[in-house]
């Protein structure tokens, strides 16, 4: 697996790789492309849940549809932040934000998303789920966290993150590619943290996929 250089990225962008739109040539770095903040912010709703528990994603047999969906919709507060409007990210807060760009990776490329170093030095962290799988298509969700001690004002359109690309030596065949639960999304959503691990959660039974 080797990283793509600026020239390699440019060649791929002509054909199989999509990062659309790039607003300025300076968005393409030596071995990465800068990603801009989109216009939606999802914040964990205060008081909606006492703690994060994988068992909340596994439903008791008697859980009804109302409870299931209410739990999902109560978890986050959704904010639309138009261009030039500020969003204040407080210390210790986690915010899910889409990229402005639509990204499509071919089957032989993997993307790795990180913070831009200038923002990281201000305390802004693009959290930990950094891998974008080959074949992915959609916005990329940036999990923003403020590790500093003072709030950070963010504006949609700012370049907060960067994505580097790595070539996969032996790409998976179509039959072996499992669609991501986030594939084709236009805005962030909560994922299923218990997906596929239900056997480790006692006395719970998954009834709805």
């Amino acid at each position: 697996m080797s990283a793509l250089s600026k020239y390699d990225i440019a060649e791929r962008l002509k054909n199989t790789l999509t990062v659309s739109p790039l607003l300025h040539e300076n968005q393409i770095g030596e071995s990465s492309i800068d990603l801009r903040m989109g216009t939606v912010v999802m914040l964990a709703r205060a008081g909606a849940q006492s703690h994060v528990d994988p068992s909340a994603y596994v439903n008791k047999a008697d859980t009804n549809k109302h409870d299931l969906h209410r739990k999902k919709h109560q978890k986050h507060e959704r904010f639309d932040i138009p261009f030039t409007h500020p969003f204040l990210l407080h210390p210790g807060t986690l915010a899910l934000v889409p990229t402005l760009e639509w990204v499509k990776l071919p089957k032989n490329l993997q993307g790795i998303v990180t913070a831009r170093s200038s923002w990281a030095r201000e305390g802004l962290n693009i959290a930990t789920a950094t891998i974008v799988n080959p074949g992915y298509s959609g916005i990329i969700t940036l999990e923003l966290a403020n590790f500093g001690e003072i709030p950070i004002t963010l504006y949609p359109g700012l370049r907060l993150a960067q994505i580097a690309f790595y070539e996969i030596a032996t790409p998976a065949e179509d039959d072996d590619i499992k669609p991501s639960q986030f594939d084709g999304k236009f805005e962030p959503s909560a994922g299923d943290i218990a997906d596929g691990d239900y056997c480790f959660i006692p006395e719970k039974k998954k009834i709805i996929s």
Binding site: A10, E11, S20, L22, L23, H24, W102, K104, G157, F186
Partner: protein, 451 residues
């Protein structure tokens, strides 16, 4: 309390309710304009009530209704949150519509001596038929109009269907006294009076009753049995023909403002309400008459003759086929001749032309085809292309932007892309791609303006 005291007390209540609206985020431009306009109206109404005698019952009654209208307007704001509609679409829509909706004869001018542009706010509530634009009454003591746009709750993000608002904008423009007379003249002189069916009441009833299609006959027999509507009284007891004229007018305005996406959107919605296209409405002409007229108008405007490269022409042809499938073959529904439609379009183009961005610029292959190309490979459609040039054997990136891409081009491309043969691009997904494309295109324009 006496009536006057009660109304003055209600003024104080309204001031309190107005303060409470400041808790809400209800528009990209913030709350100041709406707040100040409502405060101005409240102040004017309070003054009117204060100088009215307790014994002047009719005047107090009129003030009551003014207060009630203001109260309804303020209460709507609490259900008009930014996240409840597609704000990028709305911002684009405002850019094409506000000039035509500004009353040129208002005596209320801003500090630069210009009429205040209308304030727009949005509600997403109601079912499929709730698309409308509510305009203030003419007697409201206002500095600026407030236009309330209603989206159906279920379709609040369906930008591909939102061109229907072009028709509603027609009603909003027509509601301005300064425009009403001119628009009436255009429709009457070019469309109605030359029409062999609508030129007189006798012509109308002959058209309606002599040889209508079977589906219309059935409808007429139903309203005769249930409402005692017949050939002698249909124009007095059932059809409001002035409303029909306004409907035809607003269809033309919608088409000129939005282009082909307007026909696609309005025909889908109208036929969902009246699948036969034959229902005679009190205020609305039969759907098939409207759709047939619009298809002929699109032909006159040259939309169908636009040619694309061979890779894309089939999907464009499929789009126009899908439109023509909605045309009713029975000539009874063709209520206007091509010449009448052409002349009306010509006059309305002259009317809308001076209003910046109001007219949809004739689409070109250069603007629309790249958008279709993106949609067909599942990418939001924007005026952006990536290419490279070689420097010392290395690929250097080159970005090119088409700032002329209009959000109406994106909607046109969206409708075309949904007609792809393999149907791999579902309507809902194409709609989301277009909504995201409109957002991205705004970012492109902002960056290009900076550069």
């Amino acid at each position: 309390m006496k009536a006057k005291d009660f109304l003055l007390n209600e003024c104080e209540n309204l001031q309190t309710v107005l303060e409470e609206t400041l808790r809400y985020e209800y528009g990209i431009e913030g709350s100041r304009v709406f707040y100040e306009e409502c405060e101005h109206r409240l102040s004017e109404i309070t003054k009117l009530i204060s100088v009215t005698q307790e014994t002047a019952a009719p005047a107090l009654s009129e003030h009551f209704y003014k207060l009630e209208e203001l109260s309804a307007l303020i209460s709507r704001i609490e259900r008009s949150s930014l996240k409840e509609y597609s704000w990028p679409f709305l911002e684009e829509f405002k850019e094409i519509s506000l000039s035509a909706c500004t009353d040129p004869n208002t005596t209320q001018l801003d500090k630069d001596g210009n009429p205040y542009p209308p304030q727009v706010h949005v509600l997403s509530e109601g079912g499929l038929s709730s698309y409308q634009i509510y305009v203030d009454g003419r007697r409201v003591p206002s500095r600026r109009k407030i236009l309330t746009i209603f989206f159906p709750r279920t379709l609040k993000h369906y930008v591909l269907l939102h061109p229907i608002l072009g028709h509603e904008m027609g009603h909003a423009i027509y509601s301005i006294a300064a425009h009403e007379k001119a628009l009436d003249q255009v429709i009457k002189e070019n469309l109605i009076q030359p029409s062999k069916y609508f030129a007189s009441a006798q012509n109308f009833t002959e058209w309606m009753y002599r040889n209508p299609p079977q589906s219309v006959k059935v409808f007429l027999s139903v309203i005769e049995a249930e409402l005692q509507v017949n050939e002698q009284n249909i124009l007095d007891a059932y059809v409001d023909f002035a409303a029909w004229e306004e409907e035809f007018l607003c269809d033309f305005i919608g088409l000129l403002m939005f282009g082909p996406s307007f026909i696609a959107a309005i025909s889908d919605l109208l036929y969902s309400v009246d699948s036969s296209g034959s229902e005679i409405g009190n205020f609305h002409p039969p759907t098939a008459c409207r759709v047939n007229t619009l298809i002929e108008a699109a032909n006159i405007l040259g939309y169908e003759t636009l040619k694309f490269d061979p890779d894309y022409q089939p999907v464009v042809d499929a789009f126009w086929r899908s439109i023509h499938e909605k045309k009713q073959g029975n000539e009874w529904f063709d209520v206007f001749t091509s010449d009448q439609i052409r002349e009306t379009l010509h006059k309305l183009t002259a009317f809308l032309g001076p209003h910046e961005n109001a007219l949809y610029p004739t689409p070109t292959k250069e603007r629309v085809q790249p958008l279709i190309k993106k949609l067909l490979v599942n990418i939001p459609p924007v005026g952006y292309e990536f290419s490279t040039h070689q420097v010392e054997g290395k690929s250097k990136p080159h970005l090119s932007f088409d700032e002329n891409v209009d959000f109406r081009d994106i909607l046109f491309a969206g409708w075309i892309a949904t007609c792809n043969d393999v149907k791999s691009l579902k309507f809902e997904h194409a709609n989301k791609l277009c909504e995201y494309g409109i957002l991205q295109q705004r970012a492109i324009k902002m960056m290009q303006a900076q550069i």
